[in-house]
């Protein structure tokens, strides 16, 4: 939606409709989010080997269904972030508990991703640098991004295009090392392996973009957050597909042994004597996208907390939570082995927040509010959602929109 015709109804402050997120911006931001974790995926190769590209396609299809659930939630309760959503759906007490669980989830995502980025840097690039220094550097940048609020998502389009360009370039440069035969034979693993591979992909890179629901109040058209996220799945999934196809074609049997298949395949690039050592490109993309991902999770955690306690200004949390994340990341895993162990159970942990709770929310929302929750909520009058000040101006262009926040 462009500027609403009754612009007079807009807020005078800088948080007006103009600087709000468009669906496209959210799509690209979530695509970048997916790309970050795609660069480190390993489990899918362990389980489905040369059929990983099939797992990616199926996972994308299934994730579209899951995103459909988020989309329905977004349509039924437009402009509500997960915190407000759980309060609106489950009522005050249970809702607050669920919201707190979500905040913890976002915080844990920030911590785990920081761990990922840190261990990549120390294992592959700077083996003797204390990992805390890496954490602090990343968190300082993230804190700067978080202080900008939802604006941090606005420029991800450029980054996605850059990343896509580098991937395609990598693929072209690796062409002499790729063999189509590496994709054979097709579908020879036991079905359980495919299930685990698809499940892992679904939970780790793809459905994690649920975090972007935190930006629902900041969208120009919050009702279409579902389709915005689907756009993200398409772009991010396509890039993920490119990565997986390239790795399979280039690495063949070594795929199962390497810790980081994407990094290994880029290390293979050798055009003549001069075009070598391109992994620095990969490393910089990885660190950039991970910084973005951590920023989003960080933002989601502290903004969620601020909304839970109805604190207007979330900025007070930035410093304290930045320190908290660094300290927690230091202590979360004792070694790489523990981290690898965790990666097996991580999808199950995420399932609760990314699939089970959203579906329960949708069901409860249907049971409590029927087909048109907006009307029921408006009638029940601020009991659930409208407590922290209505959004009168936006009601001008969307009379059905539930009172939320900007």
């Amino acid at each position: 939606m462009t500027l609403s015709p009754n612009g007079a109804g807009l807020r005078a402050s800088e948080c007006g409709l103009v600087s709000m997120l468009s669906a496209k911006q959210l799509s690209y931001a979530s695509a970048l989010f997916i790309v970050a974790s795609s660069l480190l995926i390993k489990a899918v190769y362990v389980f489905s080997l040369q059929d990983s590209w099939l797992s990616v396609l199926v996972a994308i299809l299934i994730s579209l269904l899951v995103i459909g659930v988020y989309g329905m939630l977004g349509r039924r309760h437009p402009g509500m972030c997960p915190v407000k959503l759980s309060e609106a759906v489950f009522g005050r007490v249970v809702g607050k508990v669920v919201a707190a669980m979500y905040i913890f989830f976002f915080l844990s995502l920030a911590i785990l991703n920081l761990e990922d980025a840190g261990s990549f840097v120390t294992v592959s690039i700077l083996p003797r640098t204390p990992v805390t220094i890496v954490y602090v550097m990343v968190i300082v940048v993230c804190a700067m991004a978080v202080s900008k609020g939802h604006k941090m998502c606005m420029y991800s389009t450029m980054m996605v295009i850059l990343v896509a360009f580098i991937f395609v370039l990598n693929m072209l440069l690796l062409f002499n090392k790729m063999e189509l035969e590496n994709f054979l034979p097709v579908l020879t693993q036991p079905p359980k392996n495919y299930f685990l591979a698809i499940f892992g992909l679904l939970m780790l890179p793809l459905c994690e973009i649920f975090v972007f629901m935190i930006f629902a109040p900041d969208m120009k058209k919050p009702e279409i957050i579902g389709s915005a996220l689907k756009g993200g799945i398409f772009i991010g999934g396509f890039l993920l597909f490119i990565i997986v196809v390239r790795d399979i074609a280039a690495l063949d049997g070594y795929l199962q042994y390497t810790n980081n298949p994407t990094f290994s395949s880029i290390r293979l690039i050798e055009i003549g004597d001069f075009l070598t050592r391109l992994e620095i490109l990969y490393a910089s993309i990885l660190i950039t996208t991970f910084t973005f991902k951590i920023s989003v999770c960080f933002y989601a955690a502290i903004v969620g907390l601020a909304r839970l306690f109805r604190i207007e200004n979330y900025h007070i949390f930035i410093g304290i939570f930045g320190v908290l994340i660094v300290v927690a990341t230091r202590g979360v895993f004792e070694s790489t082995f523990e981290h690898n162990e965790w990666k097996r159970s991580a999808p199950i942990y995420s399932t609760l927040f990314l699939i089970i709770l959203p579906i329960i929310m949708l069901l409860v929302s249907y049971l409590r509010f029927g087909k048109y929750p907006q009307k029921r909520q408006a009638a029940s009058g601020g009991e659930n959602a409208g407590t922290d000040g209505g959004n009168d101006d936006s009601a001008d262009y969307n009379p059905n929109r539930a009172p939320g926040e900007t």
């Binding site: 294992v123 700077l126 220094i133 550097m137 054979l184 034979p185 020879t188 070594y254 050798e270 070598t276």
Partner: protein, 390 residues
């Protein structure tokens, strides 16, 4: 607002500067004069049972920088070889550090040479380090030495400054001779870890000519699992490279109606298609498309005529078929499926392969094959007939 804006900008700039200082990776900063750049690694069997003897060739940067042709002869050598024995490669390399003043730096390593004795006892344990080390690359060339790897690395180079570089250049020359396979560490490990294909590596040896020692790359070391089981000579190697579709360019010597001639193979492409018959017979169909040219010819009939070119084509086709037959027969002797026949089967017959996999060692010996060679001749050279005194 403006002051606040300025202050913020100043803060941001200060922060950026601090980050520049910190982000350069201060803990892993390595300057050129503090690292010992390894250009070659040799692995030999140690004196004690189960030990490995590691030789690292370190480039002496200082001496090669000021290599004036006149003083070069009297100067210190452009490389230093350091040897250390230990129960494991990483252990030995770390112990070696006490003999080397600079930090051993593996990222520029060009070749890994494995001594024959070492190769025969199995090399998966010693290669682990080169796969695991964060700075080592998998695109390093891997060779097997006839004799000791340490001796190969200490044979002084003739045209290059460092033996490590010389070996790498010699391997690169195989692109136009195809008498030894060009193998990177990744190729080797990829074939070693799989059951359906066996590993192989080029052979390097020292030859003495006119009192001077030269390095020569020729032939193939054939591995079974991680142990070297045999060797292929150049002729068999060419056949092996044809089956694997790794043949790039090379020469063949043939006699056609008593006319000696060198035939240049300019290009060779092989399509390998497996077929499993209902009675369990495994058949490998090979179809080669070869582009050949006349390299030179001696006295006899002029081969550069349309009719005689047909004879050249037949001679090339026969020679290649013979090379392939010799290679496959010898591989069957060693029980080593270096051609990846098993891998082809696992890809095209995944169901049957599951049963075959366990007894593949036996089945490999019974694999049948047929070869079809399609030769295209290309004009090469500037003459149309041979030189003969009238």
């Amino acid at each position: 607002m403006t002051i606040k804006g300025k202050a913020r900008r100043f803060l941001a700039a200060a922060l950026a500067l601090v980050m520049i200082l910190l982000l350069s990776g201060c803990f892993d900063r390595r300057e050129l004069d503090t690292i010992a750049i390894v250009v070659g690694a040799g692995l030999d069997k140690g004196r004690e049972e189960g030990n490995v003897r590691v030789t690292l060739q370190i480039a002496n940067i200082g001496s090669s920088e000021q290599s004036d042709p006149q003083t070069a002869l009297n100067e210190a050598s452009s490389f230093v070889n350091v040897t250390e024995e230990g129960p494991a490669v990483n252990y030995a390399v770390r112990n070696m550090q006490s003999k080397v003043s600079r930090l051993i730096y593996l990222a520029h390593n060009k070749v890994i040479v494995i001594g024959e004795e070492m190769a025969k006892t199995g090399i998966n344990n010693v290669l682990d380090f080169f796969v695991r080390a964060s700075e080592a690359r998998l695109t390093v060339n891997l060779l097997v030495a006839e004799g000791k790897a340490g001796e190969i690395l200490s044979t002084s180079a003739h045209l290059e400054q460092l033996p490590g570089t010389e070996i790498q250049e010699l391997i690169r020359d195989q692109e136009i001779t195809s008498t030894a396979p060009i193998i990177t560490e990744l190729d080797f490990i990829g074939t070693m870890i799989e059951k359906s294909v066996e590993a192989f590596a080029p052979l390097i040896k020292i030859v003495e000519e006119n009192g001077e020692k030269h390095l020569k790359i020729s032939g193939t070391a054939v591995f079974k699992d991680s142990k070297m089981v045999g060797k292929f000579d150049e002729y068999e190697t060419q056949g092996m490279l044809h089956v694997q579709d790794r043949f790039q360019r090379g020469v063949l010597f043939v006699r056609i109606q008593d006319t000696p001639a060198t035939i240049e193979i300019l290009d060779a492409k092989t399509q390998l298609r497996p077929e499993v018959f209902t009675d369990g017979t495994i058949m490998m169909h090979m179809k080669l498309n070869v582009t050949a040219g006349l390299g030179d010819q001696g006295e006899g009939v002029n081969l550069f005529t349309p009719e005689n070119m047909e004879m050249v084509k037949n001679a090339v086709s026969d020679a290649i078929k013979d090379q392939i037959a010799r290679a496959i027969e010898k591989a069957k002797e060693y029980d080593a499926d270096i051609f990846g026949f098993g891998k082809k089967l696992s890809r095209y017959y995944p169901e049957q392969w599951k049963e075959m996999a366990e007894q593949w060692d036996n089945l490999f010996r019974s694999v049948q094959y047929d070869v079809e060679v399609n030769v295209v001749t290309k004009l090469s050279g500037r003459t149309t007939t041979y030189i003969k005194p009238q």
